[in-house]
Symmetry: C2
Subunit: 315 residues, 2 copies
């Protein structure tokens, strides 16, 4: 048995299927008739993605949310969805009702029509969601220019804390604990913000695999250097990290599951972006700037240090 990492597995698929674009954009784009279809598939697996204390309703909702997040990053409205569900043979009616409730919740929140799908028996619960929309073109991961500003649509790192609390690794109560758990179980992709502002984005990417993964991918695809001088987290997270002797950067950059997105804009659009964010109550944060060169660097006490891609990997 060889232990393979996710990128090796993806490479085997790319090579074998003669398709080098396997998993390289947030969404799939293809022409049917005269229009461009945008679609995104995401899978939520019980043993990997559902912490013991997470409710099935929240997990089912999140399986749709994960796809919505990619549409939000690209500023495209997801219009339809297809859901495949694997269920253990002995699942109870009430658990199925919980699951359906979660699907209903997400589809109502984001105005998606669920077309259908299939149900299958399996060893564990699996939700596989595919969403569809259409658009003439998409904001890519590779379009950032020298001088562009780098923004995120919300704070990072709280999901890591939330997951630890859900897993019982740490105990914590109060406002900060509630906020952290909520960030994990009830993520809210900023779809409206994406729809309204995509025309200003030079590049964008969903960041649910971790901010370090996203920034590195955007930098690599854009062939630009990303300089990060503002860590998108509040004092509450900083204090928590200090008091538990945790590395703040690890929480913020490598946790994942935030379902926010990163976008770059020319400085000339800064004011309009901020104005739009305010009217939509989207707590965008400017975290840095694009420059020439390569790699992602975070401002440390003295100098900038390399930010490695240490986000979520499945294998």
């Amino acid at each position: 048995m060889i232990k393979l990492d996710e990128s090796s597995i993806i490479k085997i698929f790319q090579k074998g299927l003669g398709n080098n674009e396997f998993v390289s954009e947030d969404v799939e784009i293809f022409n049917l008739g005269k229009i461009k279809i945008i679609s995104k598939t995401d899978t939520l697996v019980e043993s990997t993605d559902i912490p013991p204390k997470m409710k099935l309703t929240d997990a089912a909702r999140k399986s749709i949310i994960a796809c919505v997040s990619d549409f939000a990053a690209k500023g495209i409205k997801p219009e339809y969805g297809i859901i495949s569900v694997n269920l253990p043979k002995k699942i109870s009616r009430s658990k199925i009702l919980d699951i359906v409730k979660g699907f209903k919740k997400a589809s109502s929140e984001y105005g998606i029509k669920i077309l259908g799908g299939d149900t299958n028996a399996g060893k564990e619960i699996v939700f596989n969601v595919t969403l569809f929309g259409n658009s003439k073109n998409i904001v890519t991961r590779k379009g950032s220019k020298k001088g562009d500003l780098i923004f995120v649509t919300g704070p990072f790192g709280y999901t890591s804390v939330g997951l630890d609390l859900l897993l019982g690794k740490r105990k914590e109560s109060g406002k900060f604990a509630v906020k952290s758990i909520k960030s994990m179980i009830n993520p809210k992709p900023k779809l409206k913000f994406g729809l309204k502002n995509k025309k200003y984005f030079s590049s964008s990417m969903d960041s649910s695999d971790g901010l370090s993964t996203t920034l590195n991918e955007m930098s690599k695809q854009s062939k630009k250097k990303f300089l990060i001088n503002n860590i998108p987290a509040g004092n509450d997270l900083e204090n928590y990290a200090k008091s538990h002797k945790l590395d703040l950067n690890s929480l913020v950059f490598h946790g994942g599951e935030e379902y926010e997105f990163v976008f770059t804009v020319s400085p000339k659009y800064k004011q309009i972006i901020i104005k739009n964010a305010r009217s939509l109550k989207t707590p965008i944060i400017q975290i840095g700037q694009v420059t020439s060169g390569k790699g992602v660097f975070v401002k440390a006490e003295k100098d900038y240090v390399t930010l490695k891609d240490l986000g979520w990997k499945h294998f």
Copy 2:
């Protein structure tokens, strides 16, 4: 714990999602921009759908084939595919290569471009495939008319024998055993036949859940009686059933996994259908006729007897 059957589970989804069309046609149809998209999702789960002796390459191929079969029944070309794969964390590189080989095989055979997908860690292997095409309209399950002839695109019942052999329930060698196992591991939906002839079909449906399920569904949706007077199986299957004291009707009508389809046509198209089948080497078989009334009946020694829906159910 309540043990729920598949149709109860589907009803919970339909009700909860406010969509009564959940799983009622072979394919999903939706408008995007100005065109009609046709899509189909199917899931293959290791513990449910992969018999121990089946190769991963064949299983991966079959996960695409299962969707192709629905497109074939509707006479629509599947153009693109998205594949989600769940893999156990310790899977070997050679097994992954086998899987990719199967996806490649199916996509080459039927001219489908695989756009991408995702890979996930899970307790067991799961392949989730979604295929896309476009069409102005589709042949429904409900359009059969009084007097129409009922056809199938190939013989039935061999897959049941093949599965028993793969599961080691029975031992058998020789030509018949090879043919039966092949029908199970290497099904070939009659896509070209569907594409060429759909204009003549008054109704059609993929029959992979079992011929009795398909005929009952078509009869119910069309509000017509289906009379079956010719069982689509050869003497070899009949002899096998006799010698093993198996019920031939159970093998033929309730087995499933044939990936053939059922279609109805007006008698005026009989000759052109037969001519087209011959030129495409599709071994179509006329099995009966549509009449007024309801229910599906099979000719027995003296009279017609009710054919119940006893095809494949997941739960």
